[in-house]
């Protein structure tokens, strides 16, 4: 118990210290969310829009992003304002990773096992990186039930750390998408409906991002 308190105090202290020194370096905006919510597709969309190049590979196979990826000096402009930041794409947060799930996507057993192992490390890394963020876009799949523990844990942790956030209700191009469901599930948060795949409503997202920072 004492050790836990010491660890918590240590985490808080290092968080405060990193925040003080963060002011002097570039702003970091992180993409967080559950697995397959379209974080990398959104990262690619942002990078294509402003840098003309993609950031990483997106896939229907879960846990395609298993390591933190950063794109530096992304400059976005909206309504005469501009913002330069480092964009951080993170592995999807999950409470379970079963290698057998990957077999359904045609992966061989050894590949599936190795993907699962890398994915678990990715989740841990993503959680550890939370403290380094200046702002987070919480990317949710608007075709799925938003009230699940992963979403609640991400939002709760960002609130506890006082990190500004914007909920991105992704996949607006899909027929059963519902941004209203996400708004109703998380009242009190700013929610913006987009399609990272088609680029729908990205201008609004950039505008909201600039307002938040």
């Amino acid at each position: 118990m004492v050790l836990k308190h010491i660890r918590n105090l240590k985490n808080r202290f290092s968080s405060i210290v990193s925040r003080i020194f963060r002011k002097k370096r570039d702003i970091r905006i992180g993409l967080y969310g559950p697995v397959n919510s379209g974080k990398t597709t959104l990262a690619n969309r942002i990078c294509m829009d402003w840098l003309g190049e993609e950031m990483g590979s997106a896939s229907v196979v879960p846990h395609e992003t298993r390591e933190i990826q950063t794109k530096e000096k992304v400059q976005i402009k909206s309504n005469g304002k501009s913002l330069t930041f480092n964009l951080v794409d993170t592995p999807g947060i999950a409470t379970k990773i079963d290698f057998e799930d990957f077999l359904k996507f045609g992966l061989k057993k050894t590949e599936a096992k190795s993907r699962a192992k890398e994915a678990t490390r990715g989740v841990i890394e993503a959680i550890k990186w939370l403290d380094r963020m200046d702002m987070v876009l919480v990317v949710l799949d608007s075709t799925k039930d938003p009230i699940n523990q992963v979403n609640i844990t991400i939002l709760g942790n960002l609130d506890a750390r006082n990190i500004p956030l914007l909920i991105v209700s992704n996949k607006a191009d899909v027929r059963k998408s519902s941004t209203t469901k996400i708004r109703n599930a998380f009242p009190g948060y700013d929610v913006i409906g987009i399609s990272a795949k088609t680029g729908q409503n990205m201008k609004d997202l950039y505008g909201s991002l600039l307002k938040k920072l």
Partner: protein
């Protein structure tokens, strides 16, 4: 398969480590805790779970419910609730943690949890 349900008071959970909880969960035990976990505790248990994932143990299903109904409170009730929770030292509610192999999904409404096994 023998399925067990174990109740752990929040105070005991704080004294033990999450590794102890995970050890039980790996042995097909569903853990009930008489409080809503703090976000930092939830992320810590996710981290510990990820460290424990193996071919035999794929992870957990976890869900918390808030008995106090904070979302429907006015400012005075919210303040009163903060004071009560400070006194009792925990967030009023309940947390369920179970093995993902057994609990496939936990559906959460604001006031109830439904376990799909």
């Amino acid at each position: 398969m023998n399925l067990k349900i174990k109740f752990i008071p929040y105070e005991k959970m704080k004294m033990d480590s999450f590794s102890d909880i995970l050890r039980d969960v790996k042995e097909n035990t569903i853990i009930l805790i008489d409080a809503k976990l703090k976000p930092e505790e939830e992320s810590e248990i996710i981290e510990k779970t990820m460290e424990s994932v193996s071919e035999k143990f794929s992870g957990i299903e976890l869900s918390s419910i808030d008995f106090a109904g904070e979302e429907e409170m006015n400012n005075f009730e919210r303040f009163k609730n903060i004071i009560i929770e400070r006194i009792i030292g925990k967030k009023r509610g309940m947390t369920i943690i179970g093995p993902a192999k057994i609990i496939h999904k936990i559906k959460k409404n604001p006031k109830e949890l439904l376990l799909y096994m």
